[in-house]
């Protein structure tokens, strides 16, 4: 203990004596350790930490399987059966994948309220209590038969729970909010509870309404995600076994819809993070490599410092210090440096912790912020300690391998770079290798993102403004009322100055994914072996394709004549045409579509439209069919306006013309389609941006390392270079010698980097879009970039070498 204290004192004194060395080392390590710590806190939150719910280990997610393939959504009636028949769960809840907008009226003006319908027991299943009022009762979630068919406006439950944010916004955080009534879609909803700040599950919501199952709903429609809390002492395997038994019974009872169908249980945390896991692991790998590169720089500095301290160390040996004692002292110094670096790095970690939740979309895990808790601090301490030993041990062993007599006698008769130089060069080569791996990774992600951005969407997103409308039950109960409202509104919008085209569709591409339903040809109806093919289903008003600039490749558009009474008309996309009618014209052929009613509808295919990306930009074109809104006039439609005019001006005009017809319909600011596309690519952009940032930092560190080692080498080689100059070496020879030394080590690092890159980038395959993990262009760009930076890093020491005066170098008087 006494000697440790002595070593610590010596270490601190040494650092004070060499402030430049100390500052550079501490800052370099701060960058590496800080970034690693910051990303670790995200990794911990995503992969290791428990969710902010009581006894999170008992929470599981249930996802439908079809013939062994895990899907996502479960049908409502299947959910009710699982809920009522299982004995493994304390409670089993259902939640949709996201929220939907409803018009809230009764205030100064109508507003859009994001609403989520959840099973009455979702909150108790998660174990989250309201801050005010109560959650839903079983009675409030009791089954209610639907009043009419799918075209009818939705009848809402009479009670709702509001989010903390909406409570503050709408009711000013007043306790009186309980019992107050909201008017949603013209229907009164009484507020019975307020959820705590930050609470969300599967997307943000302003209002939660209780699911009121329709006993008549088809079992073949899957729209719900199941969340369950296991009973204490019940394991996942036991619960899965019981659920499998229930699935078997349901398959026997409902073979048409449930044959081959099952429910797969996963720990909730694992299920929620499965999409985040590869991203966070990749970023963690990037910062870990960056830390190694930073450590390489520090180790290199330590080696150089060891050379300058040989006389001092020789004197210590002469005075009786053992080698082990010297090594311990030197390692203590490096550990002190690393701990200082780690402490400074907490600032870097704090900055990253602010940015990462938003960048990575951790809100999906109910993680709004990351904290420097004891685990993160313990991680930072451990990493600092290990880094200190890592960067200090080898230089310490090397520095203490000395012959005190030779050292104290002073000087050598030959100019030699020595094995210390070779070790420093090996370190730089390793740094170049790691930098290349990182650069290749970021290059692949950037190319992947660039391909995503350049993807042909199948429609023109430029100058396209969007909005969505949901008509309340009154006064839009009839098909005619809904058709009249949207028809007349669209006509007026098309007449607005600056509007070149406008169209309406039930769900816009990218903004409104999902909505796939079953479809088949009359001669191949669904059999017991499966429910058949699905396709995205959209209802459009005439002119939608022209507005979106989706070319019609055969037949005709949906027209005004495609109304009730006329044969149901269907425009399908090219993929759907190829799927159902390979090598033949689909025009005039019939397709049967399960529209959700008791009887499927038979459509005439009247046109074929070009493929478009519907779900997200990265998704491959999927079967899509467009029906006439006039024949299926549901209350919701989205608007697409093509205009180069100011969006705010269009919004004002739109509000005016909508509110002239109905003041209870909210009109939010128009969103641009390009903005929506950008948002949909946020994950890819974030990943590419984050990995690239760390890669560039790593490149900078590697360049600094190369520069430092070469500068040191030039300094050490002054004598040798002086000899060479005395023997007639010209500027070109000297320049070539130094540049060659730098580029040789870079070349070795690059070669090793290519091999390592080919092995490691395969792990990224799942994160890439239309780019192979071994993409030669990405490897070339990364290598060229690194080579250019290395050349710059070599240039300064090489130019410095040119300024060496041979006479000075040869120690003339």
């Amino acid at each position: 203990m006494h000697t440790l204290w002595h070593d610590l004192r010596l270490a601190l004194r040494g650092l004070v004596k060499n402030p430049g060395f100390a500052v550079v080392t501490v800052l370099t390590l701060a960058l590496g350790i800080g970034a690693t710590t910051g990303v670790f806190s995200a990794l911990h939150a995503v992969l290791l930490a428990s969710m902010p719910y009581p006894e999170p280990d008992r929470l599981v997610m249930g996802r439908r399987t079809q013939d062994g393939t895990v899907g996502r959504w479960v049908s409502m009636l299947d959910y009710l059966d699982y809920r009522d028949q299982t004995s493994s769960f304390a409670s089993l809840a259902a939640s949709p994948g996201g929220s939907f907008p409803l018009a809230s009226t009764g205030g100064d003006r109508p507003e859009r309220v994001d609403t989520q319908i959840v099973s009455f027991n979702l909150f108790s299943t998660l174990g989250v209590a309201p801050v005010l009022g109560r959650t839903f009762t079983a009675e409030e979630g009791a089954p209610v038969p639907a009043a009419a068919g799918p075209q009818a406006p939705m009848a809402l439950p009479s009670v709702g729970i509001v989010s903390f944010g909406y409570w503050q916004r709408r009711f000013g955080g007043s306790q009186d909010a309980l019992g107050r009534s909201l008017t949603l879609m013209g229907q009164p909803v009484t507020v019975v509870g307020v959820m705590p700040e930050g609470f969300s599950f599967q997307g943000s919501a302003d209002v939660w309404l209780p699911m009121q199952p329709d006993p008549g709903e088809a079992r073949r429609f899957h729209n719900w995600l199941l969340v369950g809390r296991l009973k204490p002492g019940v394991g996942l395997a036991a619960a899965q076994s019981e659920i499998d038994a229930i699935s078997g019974r349901l398959a026997t009872l409902y073979p048409d819809s449930n044959k081959g169908k099952g429910l797969h249980l996963d720990p909730l945390h694992d299920a929620l993070v499965e999409n985040l896991r590869p991203q966070v692991l990749l970023i963690m790998a990037a910062v870990a490599l960056m830390l190694l590169i930073a450590s390489g720089n520090v180790a290199s500095l330590m080696l150089a410092r060891g050379v300058t301290r040989r006389s001092e160390l020789a004197m210590r040996v002469a005075l009786g210090a053992s080698r082990a004692r010297l090594v311990r002292q030197l390692v203590t110094e490096s550990v002190v440096l690393a701990l200082l670096g780690g402490a400074t790095g907490l600032l870097v970690a704090g900055l990253l912790q602010r940015a990462l939740p938003t960048l990575l979309g951790l809100d999906a895990l109910a993680i709004a912020s990351l904290r420097l808790d004891w685990r993160v601090l313990a991680f930072a301490f451990t990493v600092s300690l290990l880094t200190g030993v890592l960067v200090g041990l080898v230089p310490a062993l090397r520095s203490t391998r000395i012959s005190p007599f030779e050292e104290l006698k002073g000087g050598t008769r030959t100019a030699t770079s020595g094995s210390g130089a070779r070790l420093r060069m090996a370190l730089v080569a390793a740094q170049v290798t790691m930098s290349l791996v990182l650069l290749v990774g970021s290059s692949l992600l950037i190319r992947s993102f660039a391909k995503l951005v350049r993807t042909d969407l199948g429609f023109d997103p430029d100058n396209l403004l969007t909005a969505s409308f949901a008509l309340p039950p009154q006064p839009y109960a009839s098909d005619a009322a809904r058709i009249q409202f949207f028809d007349e509104m669209l006509a007026e919008i098309r007449a607005l100055p600056g509007v070149t085209a406008a169209g309406m569709v039930s769900r816009l591409p990218i903004l409104g994914p999902g909505g796939d339903i079953y479809v088949w040809t009359p001669d191949k109806p669904p059999t017991e072996s499966g429910l058949g093919q699905t396709a995205y289903s959209r209802r459009v008003l005439p002119g939608y394709f022209a507005t979106m600039r989706m070319p019609l490749v055969a037949g005709r558009d949906i027209e005004a004549a495609d109304r009730v009474g006329a044969p149901p008309a269907l425009v399908i996309n090219q993929t759907m045409a190829r799927t159902f009618f390979p090598n033949e014209s689909p025009l005039g052929r019939k397709l049967v579509v399960d529209m959700g009613d008791d009887t499927p509808v038979t459509f005439d295919v009247v046109g074929v439209v070009a493929d478009a990306r519907i779900g997200d930009v990265a998704s491959v074109p999927y079967l899509t069919m467009y029906q006439s809104f006039y024949q299926f006039p549901r209350p919701r439609l989205a608007l697409a306006i093509r205009s180069t005019a100011d969006p705010q001006g269009i919004t004002r005009a739109l509000r005016e013309l909508v509110w002239r017809r109905d003041k209870d319909i909210p009109v939010e600011e128009l969103a641009t389609m390009t903005g929506a596309i950008k948002s949909s690519m946020l994950a890819q952009r974030t990943l590419a941006g984050t990995v690239t940032s760390f890669s560039l930092l790593a490149l900078l560190l590697a360049a600094v390392g190369l520069f430092g080692v070469l500068a040191y080498q030039v300094n050490q080689r002054q004598h040798e270079l002086g000899i060479r100059m005395a023997l007639g070496a010209r500027r070109g020879h000297v320049l070539t010698a130094i540049l060659g030394q730098g580029l040789k080590v870079t070349g070795i690092g690059l070669a090793a980097g290519v091999v390592a890159g080919l092995a490691l980038t395969r792990l990224m395959e799942g994160l890439l879009y239309e780019v192979a993990a071994t993409d030669p262009a990405s490897f070339l760009v990364a290598a060229a970039c690194l080579l250019a930076v290395a050349l710059l890093a070599c240039l300064a020491p090489a130019l410095r070498a040119l300024r060496i005066q041979p006479m000075t170098a040869l120690h003339y008087e």
Partner: protein, 235 residues
């Protein structure tokens, strides 16, 4: 290379002033010196008198601040750095007090180095290096590294390196300074032999025993030549 007035080296009023922190140090002042082909000259004087500065100017490692230095028929002040390097490579052979061999290179590679800088073909180099090492009796150690040799052997290798380019003049700066008397004497014998074979040698030394090996002796004091004498008989 032509030689004006039969001189290989001509120094006319050469001076060298070093500026350190605004302090002027006159290392050399008004030095006049001529060395003819085949001369063996010793430059002697106490430590700090300017011997090595004179040698470094003579070896084109430094430039005078005044006066004129002509090597062969080439005024050194008109040469660019690159031309000086080229001339140094062809005309000057250095032997240093501390040998100045490059530790990472073998004996063979050390000796070969001046020819490499001359862009000579490897085959031609091989013969020259072999001959040069043979001349100093070090051919059998050509694959060794300097650290594996004794001081005397290292200096022999340094001499071989100085000779390999067949320079006009051999500049030796205290060539025995780091050697014991036996090895020092051996190196001096080697220089004598070279001189007898026609080499022009200029040697800096402060040891009168070795200065007597030269045919001429120039004494420097405070940067000036204070005495010049011809030695009657070489040892």
């Amino acid at each position: 290379m032509n030689e004006q007035n039969g001189s290989l080296i001509q120094m006319i009023g050469v001076g060298k002033v070093f500026l350190t922190d605004e302090v002027e140090t006159h290392a050399l002042a008004d030095v006049h010196l001529e060395i003819a082909r085949g001369d063996y000259i010793a430059i002697a004087g106490p430590s700090g008198c300017g011997k090595s500065t004179l040698l470094s100017i003579m070896g084109l490692l430094d430039t005078p601040t005044s006066g004129q230095y002509i090597i062969g028929d080439t005024p050194a002040e008109k040469l660019s750095a690159s031309e000086r390097a080229k001339l140094r490579n062809r005309a000057i052979g250095f032997v240093f007090q501390n040998f100045n061999l490059i530790g990472d290179l073998t004996v063979y590679e050390n000796v070969e180095l001046p020819l490499v800088y001359r862009d000579m073909a490897p085959r031609d180099r091989r013969e020259r290096v072999r001959a040069s090492l043979e001349k100093v009796g070090m051919e059998h150690r050509s694959n060794h590294y300097p650290a594996q040799l004794s001081g005397g052997q290292q200096q022999r290798v340094a001499v071989a390196r100085a000779l390999v380019g067949r320079p006009l003049i051999l500049l030796a700066d205290e060539p025995t300074g780091n050697l014991d008397s036996r090895n020092g004497e051996s190196v001096m014998v080697l220089l004598d032999e070279l001189h007898r074979e026609g080499a022009t040698i200029c040697m800096v030394t402060h040891d009168p025993r070795f200065a007597h090996h030269a045919k001429r002796s120039v004494h420097l004091f405070d940067g000036r030549i204070v005495d010049e004498s011809t030695v009657a008989a070489a040892s």
